[in-house]
Point group: C2
Chain length 241, copies 2
């Protein structure tokens, strides 16, 4: 859990640096050079670690995190095509070593697993790419449905917390409860990683007769419940020395 906290810390620091940079340069957002191979590797990493439908979208072409707009215009292009383009045009690609927290697993996927899949289907990357698009369609439809569902919970949005009616929440199907808890935590901090055991605990507690309860979640997130409301709160930055 400590390593995941440190990872979060670095992720958020990187985001903040980018945000500052866009402000200083008066930019609309940033571009990253992620390509199709990164996207498919991420998909495989996520399913290996037991991700849900969110992770199965792989790397998104566009996201907005803490107000920072991030575009990945090369995400549909395989790495070998980008490399060929670079060689042809005498461009020396710049390798990014900053995001090496999962280098071990990622290398295994890149060097051992994907080549094996490509022996079965040379168009493996494209096959998985198609799947991520289907998943993304499903997720978008779900997001709209869930947003409408959440609006019925008398929600209250502040900068560092989101709260909603515990009583109406208790009446939702389990599937929706889990998504509401996950999505709202991720909205507060992109570094949240809620596991099923946390979700099950919260759902059970919320349904029980406990008037007040609270739970520290992975990432800088805490959940606090009173008799009538559930609040998800973003904690202050942790200072690593």
């Amino acid at each position: 859990e400590k390593s995941s906290n440190i990872e979060n810390y670095f992720r958020e620091s990187r985001l903040e640096e980018f945000l500052k940079l866009t402000k200083v340069t008066n930019s609309y957002g940033i571009f990253t050079a992620h390509h199709l191979n990164d996207h498919i590797e991420t998909f495989l990493m996520k399913i290996t670690r037991g991700s849900g439908l969110q992770g199965m979208e792989g790397i998104k072409e566009f996201i907005e995190l803490n107000g920072l707009k991030i575009y990945r215009p090369l995400i549909q292009i395989p790495k070998h095509i980008l490399l060929k383009f670079c060689y042809k045009n005498n461009i020396l690609p710049n390798y990014d070593y900053t995001n090496n927290s999962n280098a071990y697993s990622r290398n295994r996927i890149r060097n051992n697993i994907i080549p094996e899949f490509e022996k079965i289907n040379p168009n493996f990357l494209e096959s998985i790419n198609r799947i991520t698009k289907i998943i993304s369609q499903i997720n978008n439809k779900e997001k709209i449905r869930l947003f409408n569902e959440f609006e019925k919970l008398e929600p209250n949005y502040e900068e560092n917390n989101i709260s909603f009616s515990r009583i109406i929440f208790n009446d939702l199907p389990e599937f929706d409860k889990k998504l509401i808890l996950k999505n709202n935590s991720e909205k507060l901090s992109s570094g949240t990683f809620m596991e099923n055991k946390h979700l099950d605990y919260i759902i059970e507690k919320s349904y029980s007769k406990s008037n007040n309860f609270s739970l520290d979640l992975p990432g800088p997130i805490k959940l606090i419940a009173t008799k009538k409301r559930i609040t998800i709160e973003k904690l202050f930055e942790i200072d690593f020395q």
Copy 2:
């Protein structure tokens, strides 16, 4: 395409044999010995070959094909546990060599790919198993929604064909059109494998001014359109000599 036809032929013959057997023995259905490893291998095979959400369910615990009920009571149990049980109880497992059409790819997944994934996460099988369950929930929800949608198309069901209104079909979202074409073809013959290019062709043709058109589909399935109706038809058995 020929090899896929032969595969279909054998699949359907096997089904017919099982059906005869259940009738002769006056049985309710059959059990197969598929286990968790089979299930995960199937999932990986399907995503490698570009399957959609249907294939991502892996091997289902229960299906009914041409009236034959097939149960897989061991599908949640890893192979090594079944083997341990057999050794402990002096049972010699019987290996099934009849379904070897995809042995090459399956062995690659079983022997090279899954062990690599397990080095990243020892609970890899369980992670994927969880995903297949989420996908299956989504598919079931979609099936209900789509069934209601399809009922609006004035459908007509016969033993060897299903027809529906071409005009109402044309007004559906593309996503639903594709699922309606795929699901109904699969309902007529379990051996149908419709690709995106077929679906795109049908959708475009149906929307065009062509009064009559038809298309031979992979598997023993043909689609015939008139000005007002679209019919999906199951062809007679092909006789391989």
